[in-house]
Amino acid sequence: MNFDPQRREFLKGATAVSTMTLAPGVMLYARAPDEPVTGAVRWGMLIDTRLCQEDCHACVDACNTEHNLQDLGRPETDAQWIRKLNVRDPLTERSVSMPMMCQHCEHPPCEDVCPTGASFRRADGIVLVDKHTCIGCRYCMMACPYKARSFIHENLDEQLPHAPRGKGCVESCTLCVHRQDDNDHTTACADACQSDGHKANLFGDLNDSNSEISQRIREFGATQFRADLRLNTGVRYQGLF
């Protein structure tokens, strides 16, 4: 993680008010540690498939590093929070490469089917698994149209303080919830895409009409993957087909 401690302290000091003005027209959302999340923000991600390259895995690698997703040499069962998809329309022969992960739906099917309430959508739009109540039934994995979730089959070791994970639970992309709660409004994958990749991945607040992500969607449009399911996803794609 490339956290800047000075920036974090600066943000923490400024959390007496929920938002602050950096420059005219630019508001930065910040929350004190004792303040619960609200629907004032909706975290989302914009993937520009026109920029994403087939041979680049910077986002996948960054996610694995951030959350210490270990390679146990068994690709069928190894945890995978982001995967790269290469899809092609046989009619137009347009092919695109893109990352696929939890789409952070407004109406998540995983939440609908969860028998214990472990799958849930946080007020700020992040879909999570409460691993304390997850019983590992994997209904959510079957319900998810995006195949976004992984089940942990084996004992793990060396989990990181900000990313608790363990055997018997389902897990998926958290939109780097530990960073959001620390007022560091980035994700590992978006950071890596900007610095090491092809600048195809942008993270931001969909509720803030002045955020870069909102402006770009407003200007160029963006599609939801499987929009026919009407899940109102938080992850949007540009240049699909």
């Binding site: 929350r31 540690p33 004792d34 303040e35 619960p36 999340v37 690698d61 694995n64 590093t65 210490n68 997703l69 270990q70 390679d71 146990l72 040499g73 849930f120 946080r122 007020a123 700020d124 999570l128 409460d130 691993k131 304390h132 084996e154 004992n155 793990l156 070791d157 060396e158 989990q159 990181l160 303080p161 608790p164 994970r165 363990g166 055997k167 639970c169 919830v177 959001q180 709660d181 620390d182």
Partner: protein, 143 residues
């Protein structure tokens, strides 16, 4: 008969108090801070209630206050030895385990949660995707 009914419980009481005095006590590492977030007696009786409450607040509402967080417990209570190594949760030198092994109460917090303070991880140069040969498989607990 009446005498023995009085003397026997008294003897048993004496035996039990002396047994308590002789019983081995868990050796707890000295914490880092000057004092805990709650009085010692309160923590002994209710620490699990605090972290149980905090866990729901954190997971569902994004509240990250440190006072009753498991991470914050580890920051003070899990200390490095002279070689700079931090004890793992499987070791009786680990603060939580020292008591829990003594009391015979098995906790599963550290099957998922990190068992050492942040400083232990800052030292790691590479905490990313480990190569397969680097992965240590924890042994399955024996029934």
């Amino acid at each position: 008969m009446r005498l023995s009914s009085l003397v026997l419980p008294a003897l048993m009481l004496m035996a039990s108090t002396s047994a308590q005095a002789d019983a081995p006590k868990p050796v707890l590492p000295e914490p880092l801070g000057e004092r805990c977030v709650e009085p010692t007696e309160v923590m002994r009786a209710r620490h699990w209630e605090f972290i149980l409450h905090q866990r729901d607040e954190t997971v569902h509402r994004g509240i990250r206050t440190t006072k009753h967080s498991l991470k914050n417990c580890l920051e003070c209570h899990v200390r490095a030895n002279e070689a700079g190594e931090y004890p793992r949760a499987s070791s009786p030198e680990h603060y939580c385990s020292a008591c829990h092994i003594y009391a015979g109460v098995r906790i599963d917090c550290f099957e998922c949660h990190a068992d050492r303070p942040h400083a232990a991880y800052d030292a790691l140069e590479h905490h990313g995707r480990l190569r397969t040969e680097d992965v240590k498989r924890p042994e399955e607990p024996q029934p």
